[in-house]
Symmetry: C2
Subunit: 646 residues, 2 copies
């Protein structure tokens, strides 16, 4: 039976009370529990399987929460959660949602921080230790960081400062010989030599930073780990305990759940497969937008590799999530670079390639691009180098609070000189990629990869299919039925002008990126209102059909002043829709543009903005978020009716 011993562990005290000889059995029980949980629920099973013994040993030797353990990224904290009163969440399928996939102080006093981005644990632990020393405390402070995380910028800053700070601080380096995909970088040869030599080889990266050092070869031997942690427990100076673990230990290579859902991903390595496992229920589902559009992008680029030496795809460690399959990477050769978990380097690296004449394409998640804010501004935009950034996972979703895509428009859209494109179809996406990586483009471009709302609309045929545009034939003023006014903005890229999907009157819906399908549903509903007896009777006689205009802005870096001004002719109300934070986002720029216009007719146009509140959300389903933010057909139409009535 699973969970026999585990169910008796309600906190570290129960673990301390066990006989040492019981620990291996407890670890095996946890291992079985994790594998079952992975089948049902998915998650970062691989890293947790590797960390079972180390986590048991940490809680055996130290006294949490008095002693403070900081898990880097914290996706490997499942075992920690099991040992600190939350085992039921992993044993009982009905309780799975009672815990997040990351540490969270709101969930338990044993969780020091909410963490989901890599490399910060050492710096955070330095802060905890500093305060302890200022207050004259005696608790122990432990940072647990993987070899993959170790390649991220801030981790090095932490290593460098830890030694200078002094005092009790234990840095457990969980070396499982892999990052999300393979480890990348020169230091991994050093780590390999340390492993091969039992921790004695020079040069030693950790001692080079001034840190004391211990090595534990069998990082899945709980007895050895207890001994090692006990030895360093009361150290009066920072010490690295380098433990060699096996990611995914206990998960057969042939286990179905270790197979990627995406069949085009080769199954030779356990790397990505063991990093994040999809639940069994996800098998055989069609690809989601990230992988679908990502694979299309890679296919387009790959077809050009032979003739364009400067076309280089850069992925800071998370290729699989973005459709950069192992098969593609193998074929791409020198045209593909995994820089490891190093978003900042990746952006500067891309800028360097572009400065020398290349056309780099850097792909990662919206939430991870946040780490590169300064490089986006300084190395890329200020230098106006033609790199293309593929922004995956931008927009609202039911993600946890550490991986939200709600903030990308407000981040990218306010950087001078950065062209920000928001394609609303596969064709437009690939056209934009072809243009941004061509010699026609002379500056940095971010393309917000379409999300599932677009993919679903394309699959169901919801979106009109006449929206194809080619780079050779950008939208021109003449093709836009609403206005004959010539463009007053410089057409520095083919999507500078907004695309009028449907020209109507009274109300203009400007639906950015992923919200275009919502905009289409809104104008369809408005147009059909009189034909809909129920609606007409509920809302009364004012509920006349409205033939509203629908506009696809296609980008969020500049405003199309010509189109915006032209709307004043036949419209009373402009509505902006965006699947991101309103504050600092795109719609507010539209509102301010009208408000500040010198022509009183144009300035008088009412504007309503729909988007997300400035807040963090944690695993709130998208439908609930849309309801909360008024991003539903009913709520949008209700606000439109209210404002037209006035």
């Amino acid at each position: 039976m699973n969970g026999g011993m585990l169910r008796t562990i309600h906190g570290p005290a129960d673990l301390h009370a066990l006989d040492a000889t019981q620990l291996p059995a407890l670890c095996e029980e946890i291992r079985r529990t994790l594998v079952d949980y992975g089948h049902r629920h998915g998650g970062h099973i691989g890293s947790n399987l590797g960390m079972i013994e180390a986590t048991v040993a940490l809680h055996r030797v130290f006294d949490s929460p008095r002693d403070r353990i900081v898990f880097d990224v914290s996706h490997q904290s499942y075992v920690h959660k099991m040992l600190t009163g939350r085992a039921d969440a992993y044993l009982d399928p009905a309780l799975a949602d009672t815990v997040t996939g990351f540490t969270n102080p709101d969930e338990s006093e044993h969780d020091q921080f909410v963490l989901g981005h890599t490399g910060t644990s050492i710096s955070l632990a330095c802060g905890l230790a500093k305060m302890r020393d200022m207050a004259g405390g005696h608790e122990h402070v432990i940072a647990v960081i993987g070899d993959g995380s170790l390649s991220s910028a801030i981790a090095f800053e932490g290593l460098n400062n830890a030694a200078a700070q002094g005092g009790n601080l234990i840095i457990v380096v969980n070396d499982n010989e892999m990052s999300i995909a393979e480890d990348q970088g020169g230091m991994y040869a050093s780590l390999a030599r340390l492993r091969a030599s039992g921790g004695t080889a020079e040069p030693n990266l950790f001692t080079a930073f001034g840190l004391d050092y211990r090595y534990v070869e069998d990082g899945n031997d709980v007895t050895a780990l207890v001994a090692a942690f006990t030895e360093v427990r009361d150290t009066d100076h920072p010490v690295v305990v380098h433990i060699h673990t096996c990611k995914g230990l206990g998960l057969p290579a042939s286990d179905d759940i270790a197979q990627p859902v995406d069949e085009s991903v080769a199954t030779s390595g356990r790397c990505e497969a063991n990093h994040w496992i999809n639940p069994d229920s996800a098998a055989h589902r069609p690809l989601g937008a990230r992988k679908y559009y990502g694979q299309l992008a890679m296919a387009q680029l790959e077809s050009r590799f032979d003739h364009e030496p400067g076309l280089v795809v850069i992925s800071p460690a998370t290729p699989g999530s973005n459709g950069i399959t192992r098969a593609f990477r193998d074929r791409a050769g020198k045209h593909y670079v995994d820089t490891g978990i190093t978003e900042e380097h990746a952006v500067a690296f891309a800028s360097g390639i572009a400065r020398a004449g290349g056309r780099p394409v850097l792909a990662t998640s919206a939430t991870f691009f946040q780490r590169t804010f300064d490089q986006l501004q300084q190395e890329l935009s200020l230098n106006h180098t033609p790199a293309t950034l593929l922004d995956f996972g931008g927009g609202l979703s039911g993600s946890d609070n550490t991986h939200s895509g709600a903030f990308d428009i407000a981040m990218f859209g306010n950087i001078p000189g950065l062209t920000c494109l928001a394609p609303t179809s596969q064709t437009m996406f690939l056209d934009m990629l072809a243009w941004s990586t061509s010699s026609a483009n002379q500056g940095p471009v971010v393309i917000r990869v379409p999300g599932d709302t677009i993919l679903n609309a394309e699959r169901t045929g919801l979106l009109p299919c006449d929206r194809k545009q080619t780079v050779a034939q950008p939208v021109t003023a003449a093709s836009q039925p609403v206005s004959d006014t010539p463009s007053t903005i410089s057409d520095d890229q083919p999507w500078s002008r907004y695309h009028i999907v449907h020209a109507g009157s009274r109300v203009a819906i400007l639906a950015l990126g992923n919200e275009l399908p919502l905009g289409l549903r809104v104008i369809t509903t408005l147009a059909n209102h009189t034909a809909d007896g129920t609606n007409a009777s509920v809302h009364g006689s004012s509920e006349l059909a409205i033939d509203a205009t629908l506009i696809d802005p296609q980008q969020f870096s500049t405003l199309d002043a010509t189109t915006l001004a032209s709307l004043a002719e036949r419209h009373e109300l402009v509505v902006t829709l965006e699947d991101g934070q309103l504050e600092g986002g795109w719609g507010e720029k539209v509102t301010a543009w009208y408000a500040n216009h010198c022509d009183p007719t144009i300035a008088a146009l009412r504007v309503l903005n729909f988007g997300a509140t400035k807040e963090f959300t944690d695993r709130v389903p998208l439908t609930e978020l849309n309801e909360r933010y008024g991003l539903t057909v009913d709520q949008i139409i209700a606000r439109i009716r209210e404002n037209l009535a006035n």
Copy 2:
């Protein structure tokens, strides 16, 4: 005579043509030129004096611009500029403004990038080298990075990736044994051992990253450097050339220009004094706002150190610029931590201290906080840890394009859960600091340190002196004359409610932070218009006096809905003023708030926004920027009149 030989150098070819024996004399001539230039013009003289011989040797051995030299931060590129056709800028006082203090491709084909932030040179060079290898080129790529810059996060990512990449890449580590202030961190002991051992000591940080390594003890011996660079010139793999130089070589310790202008800064060390030298003409001027308010802040904190062990001041390497004097640091002891150039670590470190119960205060420039965007969001705001950030140098200024403060409001103000305060007086600033570091505050706070417009207004008595507020007595609805409506927002901090400086009618000026003095001038001019015969006659009879309202928002993280709504009663026009980028900034939020209001009376209120265009600016004088952006009394009043007339 200065510049005899230097004037004959119009590019690297002229340097190549010199006899090797002439190089030391050229170096001495450059040294004299730099010292004279520093007296007249100021600048990063110390680092350039240390880099004279290395720069001459680089241009002697390599063939720029075919070979690409990337100067990290690029403040040490003066000698490079002299050798690449720009010597006149340093020799002729009238031509000093023809060059920036940093490299810039618009200035010369020998400058690879615009750079002003640390640590990115290796990553950029990796990109240049990658593209060379993709294209089958044979040019050499060189990154030049100081030991101080080496502590910044991205530099480590670069080191780690350089070795993995392979190919010709030369990383010159300019080790002058100091950062902007002292070097900080465990790796500097390793560097010291390398210096002491002639480059042979283990552990070697560079070889630990997988890089080849050379050491040059006398980094100011041009002959030795030419030999070292020649030896590695055609390397087929990345190699570090570690050169030991002397910052400020040739600048007597007793030289007047090495003395800090601020008399309260001790003069014992050459560190800050030699980092940035003020021109002689700056001597004996009163303190600017950064140092003035910074010193006040430190004095307040210092008075509490004895009783508050958790009060810790953190400076990532630039204490002197922000009034954190050497004398203060010496007295502060453990209450002060210089983390080196590690902004990201500094923010996570602060969050750790705060989580453990401390009240950390992190001080740096607006432009450098950009590097911490992800830590601000994840480690700080998502974790809601009560750290205080002192944001120095925020706002418009005549700075170069790599150090602009125009983007901070748009960055900080859009992060959920981060309280953003914009004090407009010394008293308010210190009250805010006292509150944010007290137990009354439970979350992260950024305080935008007042700029020179505020300091000048305080010195000249322009601002009304009844604006003092204390933490114990926050602004309440009852104290606000415009509206009796009770506050509908939660007063989560004493400055949530806007402060009504003057209650008038028709026009309400909301002047954020540093623009409050401008707002005061606007309402004064509007009020005096009829008394001013010239104005009345010029503008005609419509130019009646207006008793406009002036509001000090005090913060830019939330909107005071009560006050904003109340303005609809007696006002036709709301005007926002901010000294930062409009797009994504604060005023657009005010505009959108009104536009989206459900009460048609409130929604009908016109709003005009004044602030900066989304653009990079390079050494444009502030008065010119204000003129460009309409941030002058005349332009603001003209737009107000236009819109009232409508």
